[in-house]
């Protein structure tokens, strides 16, 4: 299902597959479902399952937006977030946290580190995640 929101300027970019998104998620099944949904919306998707892959992907081809899980094998999402926000070239890339952590402390910490949104997987559908991605993109690229 594709939501018809051609009124959003972001939609025209999506139609031309110009929006690059990086999905950092270690669970194969969840990643598959999410990536499928996002591709369907017209994003160009890169996948990463840990910090190393995520950094490599960012360096190779900086995405417009990153979906980041917090609990990952090895270096966790909080550390990835901190490192990316500390690097001048990448600090402006909006990052949406998609995690199953979700206590107020976790949310506060992520937002303080510069995350754009915090979504708890069990409480949101892929469709809602897509809506949030578009909203964040609007705010970060079109609104400026």
């Amino acid at each position: 299902m594709t939501t018809d929101d051609s009124s959003m300027p972001i939609a025209s970019m999506l139609k031309r597959n110009e929006m690059k998104i990086l999905v950092v998620e270690d669970d194969k099944f969840l990643r598959g479902l999410l990536v499928e949904k996002i591709k369907h919306e017209g994003f160009t998707v890169t996948e990463a399952i840990n910090a190393d892959e995520a950094f490599a992907a960012v360096h190779k081809n900086p995405p417009h937006i990153i979906l980041l899980d917090l609990i990952l094998p090895g270096k966790g999402g909080f550390e990835i977030l901190t490192e990316l926000k500390a690097q001048h070239d990448y600090a402006s890339i909006p990052i949406i946290i998609i995690s199953n952590l979700g206590s107020r402390d976790d949310v506060d910490q992520a937002m303080k580190l510069g995350a754009a949104e915090f979504m708890i997987k069990a409480h949101h559908t892929p469709q809602e995640i897509v809506e949030t991605i578009k909203k964040v993109l609007e705010a970060n690229y079109i609104g400026k």
Binding site: M1, L33, K37, N100, L101, R104, D105, I120, K121, Q127
Partner: protein
């Protein structure tokens, strides 16, 4: 006389000792007077006799004074010997009563008081051990719940996303029957997600990590929003949900809106869930200068007398609700009560089985975070 002095040990010892000294003296002087007075007057000239009796009287008075002083002094000594260790013990027991078990008394005396001190020390140690063990178990339990709940969230998310994908037609067109089956799966999945969410909240409350962020809110707008949100559930269950008349002016309250909305939402949702179709749930909001009172009444199944005392306990569910609503977690009221208490408020209810329940939530308007009262924990060491 000051009753504190009249009831003190010192005063009693003093009276006893004084009596012990003065009674024999008094009797002795009586005998003396009875036996010797007539003889003295018979033998001596009246002037000499009077002088002698005066001297003897003065001697007696001096002795009385001396006894008085000795009795006071002895009373002070005895009292100090007994009450000083007692006041140390009292202070130590007071601390244990307040929840500080790090109490040790140095015992150098070999008498009964010393024995009491030794046993006291042993008791304090045992209580501390039991408390440590309890805390350790409680911590492990909370950790276990946290980890288990987080582990459950990933498969639950997968289920949710898959069901949603099927319903959205992401995996191809589905029939009406298939959709109905998936809807049932969704309901079960959502209820599991809610259970996990409540478990995590309950564990956080127990670990003291359930943080609060207070801000000023207008309780009228706030309550209207909650009632609007619960309207969907009420309509689905064919229950009339009403919000009573509220004042036109805003009522400002210092509260954590997210947490408070969980608490009031829980109570409202319970009222709807445990009321049969056709019933009513009414939310009323009253305010005076010091506090805001929310009354949430239903015409539901009520809470039995036996269940009432345990309603705010974790995992406790009323005996009459189990077969009516299978999916409750028994955590809602526990979480709710903690939230209301943290706002400095109180929650109570009165209920009659079969007729309905009314919950009362009172929150002070200038509430700030009420952290649980921590007992003083600095160690207490004193000697008997």
């Amino acid at each position: 006389m000051n009753p504190k002095i009249r009831h003190s040990l010192f005063f009693r010892f003093f009276l006893t000792l004084l009596a012990l000294g003065i009674f024999p003296m008094g009797i002795a002087s009586l005998f003396f007077v009875a036996t010797y007075q007539s003889r003295i007057r018979a033998v001596l000239a009246p002037r000499d006799a009077t002088a002698l009796i005066e001297t003897i009287s003065i001697q007696f008075i001096l002795i009385f004074l001396f006894v008085f002083i000795i009795a006071s002094f002895a009373a002070i000594m005895v009292t100090r010997y007994i009450t000083r260790p007692l006041s140390v013990l009292t202070e130590a027991v007071k601390r244990i009563g307040a929840g500080n078990f790090k109490v040790h008394i140095t015992v150098s005396r070999k008498d009964e008081v010393g024995v009491l001190g030794t046993f006291f020390n042993e008791m304090a140690e045992r209580i501390q051990e039991a408390k440590d063990r309890q805390e350790e178990i409680s911590k492990l339990k909370s950790e276990f719940i946290s980890i288990a709940a987080h582990q459950l969230r990933t498969p639950l998310s997968i289920q949710k996303w898959v069901y949603q994908g099927i319903k959205d037609g992401d995996f191809g067109k589905i029939t009406k029957n298939q959709r109905e089956a998936v809807e049932k799966g969704t309901i079960a999945n959502e209820s599991m997600i809610r259970l996990v969410h409540n478990l995590l909240d309950a564990a956080r409350i127990e670990e003291g990590k359930f943080g609060y962020k207070f801000e000023e809110i207008d309780i009228i707008i706030f309550t209207k929003k909650i009632v609007d949100e619960k309207m969907i559930l009420a309509k689905a269950k064919n229950i009339t949900l009403t919000l009573g008349k509220v004042s036109d002016d805003p009522i400002i309250l210092n509260a954590d809106p997210d947490r408070l909305s969980i608490a009031i939402g829980n109570i409202t949702e319970n009222a709807i869930r445990y009321t049969a179709a056709g019933g009513t749930v009414s939310v009323r909001l009253e305010a005076d200068s010091v506090s805001v009172v929310l009354k949430i009444s239903d015409t539901g199944i009520g809470i039995s007398k036996e269940d009432q005392p345990r309603m705010f306990t974790r995992f406790y569910r009323g005996s009459n609700v189990m077969h009516m609503e299978t999916e409750g977690t028994g955590l809602g009221l526990f979480i709710t009560k903690n939230i209301i208490t943290a706002h400095g408020g109180e929650i109570s209810f009165h209920s009659e089985e079969g007729k309905g329940t009314t919950f009362l939530i009172r929150i002070p308007r200038a509430s700030t975070l009420k952290s649980p009262v921590n007992p003083p924990t600095e160690p207490f060491v004193a000697a008997l």
